[in-house]
């Protein structure tokens, strides 16, 4: 029952979609947190080779000016989804002359991903997508799974370290937090979940949409990102110290 995506198992599961989820589970962690004045995305970008240019091959990409997407899983699939999201955002602008809002971009991405779970001639996308947006009704955060299922979240995590990350995120008081604080927490959480024993080096990718970025999705400015990363490294060392 697990050979084709158009086949159900006797207990009502579509195995191909579940296997697609495995690709996500084994990938580098990505988290998103929505706070009072914006949304922050952070990714544990595992470095495959020392020859790669730092800062290239980003896992967080822009979709229109006010939307950012972070992917986990098969990165090629993730890029394809982002390409489609960009087209959907543009087509919304063409018809309505307005930027697309969070709910509708999530819906369009969700519908697109779900379509690939219906036919045996294609395979489901092996990536989950975290969508951060800022629209007229405030900051928004959505996550789309390979099945096409999506929900809106206050905080979400995907990839290897998602269990630990979710636990950490749940401890935070997101409703009152500002983006500045959120950036520090996001960096700390990514450093926290990274398993030095299992994985090689990683690069921390941080992005945000907030009032400070004037509602645009952008990479967190260097000074703020560096400060957050330094604090994150320091926090790791604190954890290592034994407490009586």
């Amino acid at each position: 029952y697990d050979v084709s995506v158009s086949t159900y198992s006797p207990d009502g599961r579509v195995f191909q979609v579940e296997y697609a989820g495995k690709a996500v589970e084994n990938s580098g962690t990505a988290i998103g947190i929505r706070v009072k004045d914006g949304v922050v995305l952070a990714v544990e970008k595992l470095i495959q080779s020392k020859l790669l240019v730092p800062g290239a091959n980003r896992r967080i990409q822009n979709v229109d000016r006010h939307i950012g997407i972070a992917t986990a899983g098969l990165l090629a699939d993730g890029r394809h989804i982002v390409k489609r999201a960009r087209e959907e955002a543009q087509s919304w602008r063409d018809v309505y002359r307005l930027p697309i809002d969070g709910k509708n971009i999530a819906s369009r991405v969700g519908d697109y991903v779900a379509a690939y779970t219906l036919y045996s001639s294609v395979r489901p996308f092996g990536s989950s997508t975290i969508i951060a947006a800022m629209d007229t009704t405030g900051p928004k955060l959505y996550m789309v799974e390979p099945s096409g299922l999506y929900w809106g979240y206050h905080g979400t995590a995907i990839g290897k370290g998602r269990q630990v990350a979710k636990t950490e995120i749940e401890k935070l008081n997101l409703e009152e937090m500002t983006c500045r604080e959120a950036v520090k927490h996001a960096a700390r959480i990514i450093y926290n979940v990274h398993d030095d024993a299992k994985d090689k080096e990683f690069e921390l990718e941080l992005s945000w949409i907030c009032e400070e970025s004037k509602g645009f999705h952008q990479i967190v400015p260097k000074e703020i990102a560096d400060e957050a990363e330094a604090l994150a490294k320091a926090a790791l060392n604190d954890d290592d110290d034994m407490d009586d």
Partner: protein, 211 residues
């Protein structure tokens, strides 16, 4: 642009919309002609596309009714999925249809309405399918005769009563000069509270200099 086909019905028309503090006043004459025969002397050219968004139709009756119906459908879907649409959104839909089909349409439309974000707003979508937000807009064949009158009479910050008088007097002048406009004046006041219609019968029209 094809213009009207033989036998096609024309909304000769004088239409107008004015924005004020709490909403908009829209108005139109009531004459529909096929050539020189008045096919309908009591036409309603003010068409609802949403609760507080209306359009004034001029040009081909068939074309403008078809376009308004399509926009009405899109706004129904939009409001079910996304909540109340705004007036600029409705105007953008009109623009998209009028521009992409400009070779086959003869439609001059003025969109007027109220929404929470913008208050009252007036959007003119003339023949080519461009989009213009204006404090007040005039359209139709009769409008050519009242450009001077409107420019001389309009002031910023008029209240509801003054806007109603402005629309009434302007349309009456257009109707008396333009052979393709006439009949009665239909107006609508669109505010947060909704739509209130006003009817001015043909024998109660304001009279300008008649010699």
């Amino acid at each position: 642009m094809s213009g009207l086909k033989p036998g096609e019905v024309n909304l000769g028309t004088s239409i107008m919309a004015v924005e004020f503090a709490h909403g908009v006043i829209i108005g139109a004459d009531s004459r529909t002609t096929t050539g020189s025969y008045i096919a309908n002397r009591v036409t309603d050219k003010l068409t609802e596309v949403h609760d507080t968004i209306y359009c004034c139709r001029s040009g081909s009756a068939a074309d403008t009714q078809a376009v308004a119906d399509i926009v009405h459908y899109y706004l129904q879907m939009y409001s079910v999925q996304n909540g109340k649409p705004t007036v600029p959104l409705a105007a953008s839909l009109f623009q998209e249809l009028c521009y992409q089909n400009k070779d086959n349409l003869s439609a001059g439309i003025i969109v007027g309405g109220w929404d929470k974000e913008n208050g009252g707003s007036v959007w003119n979508v003339p023949l080519g399918g461009s989009l213009h937000r204006q404090p007040f807009a005039i359209g139709g064949s009769g409008s050519t005769y009242i450009y001077g009158y409107c420019d001389a009479t309009y002031r910023d910050g008029m209240n509801q009563e003054e806007c109603i008088e402005f629309v009434k007097n302007s349309l009456a002048l257009a109707m008396s000069r333009d052979g393709s406009s006439g009949g009665v004046i239909r107006m609508a006041i669109i505010t947060e509270k909704g739509v209130e219609r006003i009817f001015v019968p043909g024998d109660k029209l304001p009279v300008h200099w008649e010699g």
